[in-house]
C-alpha cells in the first residue's frame, strides 16, 4: 500500500484472521452469556462477517474514517524526546482523530452494523469517558438513541466527558453497583442489553466481551497498526520499528496496533496499569497478576481473590481501571508473541509531563503509561538507539484538571 498521509484516502488492509471455534484465541475468548443474548450475538457475528468482507461496507467505513474521523492519523517522529531518552521514538497520533482517541474507529464500524441490523439504539460502557463520547458521537451521526453506563467514581473524575456525552444527546447512567467503576458499568450495560436486545446494540468499547466482540473490535482498530506500519517504514527507510508499545486496559488500541505488526519482527509490548505498585494490590495488571476466569462473556485473565470473586482494579487512569484484559492479549502473552509490562500511577504522570515538555503533546493518562514505561526502561531493558513506536491512543484534555490537582495539590477553578 502507499504511505497513508493526513488528508489522503483511508486504505484498509485485508481482514485479519478470525478466531477459531466459538471465538477462541488459544484457550481464551468464547461466548459466556445468558441465553437471552445468544441469538443476538449469533446475528452480530454473521452480520459482521458478511459486512467485513463486502466492498460496499468497507468502502463506506473507510470513507467515514476519512471524512468524519479525520484519518489517516500521522506518525510523528519525536526528536526532542528521542534525544532525551537516547532512543528513536515515533508516535502514532490517535489523539488527532475526531473525539480525540482511537475509540472512534470502533464505534463508527459498530454504528454501521447497528443500522444494518435495523436496531435503533446504542448502549455503551465507559471508563474514562472516551468510548462513551465516541459512542454518543456515532449515535448523533447515525440518528440513534444512546445510553451510556459510567461508574459513579468515573463520573466524578471525568465530569467534562459526562457533559460532552449529554451535549451529544446521550443519556448517562451513573453506576453505583459494586466498585462503581468500569467493570460495574459493563455489568449494568449487559443487564440493560438482556432487557432490550431486540432493539438495541451493545457497542462494547474494547477487544473484550463475548464473541464476536474481541475479534470485531480488533478488526475495527487494526487500521491503527496497518497505517502505522507503512508510515514507520517510510520514516525508517523501509525498516520496521524494533519495538511497538501501547497501553492496555481492555486492550483495543494495543490490539489494533499489534495487528499491524504481528507479521513483522517488531517486539510487541503492552503496558498495563501498575497503579500504586504491583505489590500493593492496587493496580489493573490483569496479565501480571490475573488468573484465568470467565467474566463479561469471555474466558481471559482477571484479578480475583482466592474464591474467584473479582477484585477491584486501581489506576490513576479511568480507562485502565479494569480487572481483566481482552482474550487475544491473554493468548499473545501465553504464546510469547507479545509481552506485558506495567507502569505505576507516578510513572504515568512522569510520562504525561515528559511528552508535554519535550514535544508539545499532552497525552491522555492511558498512553502516558506507555510513555512512562519507555522512559523508565530507556537505556536499561530498552537498549540505547532502539527504534520504538508508541501508540498515543488519545489526547489529555480530559485529564488536565485531574493531573493539575495531583501535581499542584490544588483544584483548578
Amino acid at each position: 500500500m502507499s504511505v497513508p498521509v493526513r488528508g489522503g484516502p483511508v486504505h484498509l488492509d485485508p481482514p485479519g484472521p478470525e478466531p477459531t471455534g466459538l471465538g477462541r484465541f488459544a484457550d481464551f475468548g468464547g461466548r459466556f452469556v445468558p441465553e437471552t443474548l445468544v441469538p443476538a450475538l449469533e446475528e452480530l457475528e454473521a452480520q459482521f462477517r458478511t459486512a467485513w468482507s463486502s466492498d460496499e461496507f468497507r468502502d463506506e467505513y473507510a470513507e467515514l474514517l476519512g471524512s468524519y474521523a479525520g484519518r489517516p492519523t500521522p506518525v510523528t517522529e519525536c526528536h526532542r524526546l528521542s534525544e532525551r531518552l537516547g532512543l528513536r521514538v515515533l508516535l502514532k497520533r490517535e489523539d488527532l482523530t475526531h473525539t480525540g482517541s482511537h475509540k472512534i474507529n470502533n464505534v463508527l464500524g459498530q454504528a454501521m452494523l447497528t443500522r444494518r441490523m435495523g436496531k435503533t439504539r446504542l448502549i455503551a460502557e465507559t471508563g474514562a469517558g472516551q468510548h462513551g463520547v465516541a459512542t454518543a458521537t456515532a449515535a448523533a451521526l447515525f440518528g440513534l438513541d444512546c445510553l451510556v453506563f459510567m461508574g459513579a467514581v468515573d463520573v466524578e473524575r471525568q465530569a467534562l466527558n459526562v457533559w460532552r456525552m449529554q451535549l451529544l444527546g446521550a443519556e448517562v447512567v451513573s453506576v453505583t453497583s459494586g466498585s462503581a467503576t468500569l467493570k460495574d458499568a459493563i455489568n449494568d450495560a449487559m443487564r440493560e442489553w438482556v432487557a432490550s436486545v431486540n432493539t438495541t446494540h451493545y457497542c462494547i468499547g474494547s477487544v473484550m466481551g463475548p464473541h464476536p466482540f474481541p475479534w470485531m473490535v480488533r478488526e475495527f482498530q487494526r487500521v491503527v497498526g496497518d497505517e502505522a506500519r507503512e508510515q514507520s517504514r517510510a520514516i525508517l527507510e523501509g525498516a520496521d520499528p524494533q519495538m511497538v508499545v501501547a497501553c492496555v486496559g481492555g486492550g483495543s488500541n494495543a490490539m489494533g496496533t499489534f495487528a499491524g505488526f504481528i507479521d513483522t519482527e517488531a517486539e510487541l509490548v503492552g503496558v498495563e496499569a501498575a497503579g500504586l505498585g504491583l505489590e500493593s494490590g492496587k493496580h489493573g495488571a490483569a496479565i501480571a497478576r490475573g488468573v484465568p476466569g470467565v467474566v463479561h462473556g469471555m474466558r481471559s485473565l482477571f484479578l480475583q481473590d482466592e474464591d474467584g470473586q473479582i477484585i477491584e482494579a486501581h489506576s490513576i487512569s479511568a480507562g485502565l481501571d479494569y480487572p481483566g484484559i481482552g482474550p487475544e492479549h491473554a493468548a499473545l502473552s501465553a504464546s510469547g508473541r507479545a509481552r506485558y509490562e506495567s507502569a505505576t500511577d507516578d510513572e504515568a504522570l512522569a510520562g504525561f509531563t515528559l511528552l508535554a515538555e519535550t514535544e508539545g503533546i499532552v497525552p491522555a493518562l492511558e498512553p502516558a503509561h506507555a510513555i512512562g514505561w519507555v522512559a523508565r526502561e530507556a537505556g536499561h531493558s530498552i537498549p540505547a538507539g532502539t527504534t520504538v513506536l508508541i501508540t498515543l491512543s488519545g489526547r489529555g484534555d480530559k485529564d488536565a484538571a485531574q493531573v493539575a490537582e495531583r501535581l499542584t495539590g490544588e483544584r483548578l477553578q
Partner: protein, 259 residues
C-alpha cells in the same frame, strides 16, 4: 440425603401439583439455613441456593445487594456448601451461581463438592448450551443435574436442543431482562411456558420477574410451576427471617394450589 431433581419434580407434577422453587442467597445472614427449612415447610418443591458472585450479570438490584451483603459476611462457595450439607429437608436442592466460581474451584472438584454436600442440581446462567460441554461432563460424572435456561429470544431449534440437554427441569426466563420484581407478569411469560411445554416432557418452570402469589398462579397456567427469587430475597434484605419467608412462600403455595 440427596434428593434427585427430575424424578422428584415429575412425581409431584403427576400428583397434579404446581411446582414451587424458591431461591435463597446462601450465606445471607446467620439464619439462612433456617430460611431454607422454612420455605420447604411452607410448600417448596425444591430450593435454589445462590452462591454469591461479585459480578452477577443476570441479576437485578435485589440479588446484587444480597450477593454483596453475603460476600461481606464472609460467605464463600466452600462455606455455603459446608453449611448446606447440614440441610436434610427432603426436597431437591440446587445451587445457582456464575461460571467463574465453578471454573476457579475446578470443574471436577466443584461437581464433586456439590455431590458431597447433598446438592442435586446446578443452574449457571452465564454458561449457555454452546459452552456447556466441559462442565456438563464433570457434572454428569458426579451425578449433578445441570438445569439450562431458555429465553424468549431462543430460536425453535435451539429450544429443542436446550430441552434435550437440560437435566432436572427446564428454566424458562419469563421476560426480557434480569432478575427482579415487576408490577405485573410479563406478556412473554405465557408464550415462553407454552413453547416449553410443547418442546419437552421434562418439568418446565418459569422464573425471573415472578413477584406475587397472583403472578405465580397466572404463570403456572402456562407451565409446570415457578421459581421465586427476588420477591423472597427482598423480604430477607428488609430484615425478614424464616417466619416472613414461610408466610410469603406459603401464600404463593396457596395461590398455586387454588389456581
Amino acid at each position: 440425603m440427596t434428593v434427585a431433581v427430575e424424578p422428584y419434580l415429575r412425581a409431584r407434577r403427576a400428583e397434579g401439583r404446581k411446582l414451587l422453587v424458591p431461591y435463597v442467597t446462601g450465606g445471607l445472614g446467620k439464619h439462612w439455613l433456617e430460611v431454607v427449612r422454612a420455605v420447604v415447610d411452607a410448600g417448596a418443591d425444591a430450593v435454589e441456593i445462590g452462591i454469591p458472585f461479585s459480578d452477577p450479570v443476570m441479576d437485578g438490584v435485589t440479588i446484587q445487594e444480597a450477593s454483596q451483603r453475603a460476600i461481606a459476611l464472609d460467605a464463600t462457595p466452600r462455606s455455603i456448601l459446608n453449611e448446606a450439607a447440614t440441610l436434610d429437608v427432603g426436597v431437591p436442592l440446587l445451587v445457582m451461581t456464575y461460571y467463574n466460581l465453578v471454573l476457579h474451584a475446578g470443574l471436577e472438584r466443584f461437581a464433586a463438592e456439590l455431590a458431597v454436600a447433598g446438592i442435586a442440581g446446578a443452574i449457571i446462567p452465564d454458561l449457555p448450551l454452546d459452552e456447556l460441554a466441559p462442565w456438563a461432563a464433570a457434572a454428569d460424572d458426579s451425578g449433578v443435574e445441570t438445569v439450562l435456561l431458555a429465553a424468549p429470544t431462543t430460536t425453535p431449534e435451539r429450544l429443542l436442543a436446550l430441552c434435550e440437554r437440560s437435566r432436572g427441569f427446564v428454566y424458562g426466563v419469563s421476560l426480557m431482562g434480569v432478575t427482579g420484581e415487576r408490577t405485573s407478569l410479563a406478556s412473554q411469560a405465557g408464550e415462553m411456558g407454552s413453547r416449553l411445554k410443547a418442546a419437552t416432557d421434562k418439568p418446565a418452570l418459569l422464573g425471573v420477574g415472578i413477584s406475587t402469589p397472583q403472578q405465580a398462579a397466572e404463570a403456572s397456567q402456562h407451565a409446570d410451576g415457578v421459581v421465586i427469587g427476588s420477591a423472597l430475597v427482598r423480604r430477607l434484605l428488609q430484615g425478614g427471617g424464616p417466619g416472613e419467608a414461610a408466610d410469603f412462600i406459603g401464600s404463593v403455595r396457596t395461590a398455586l394450589d387454588e389456581s
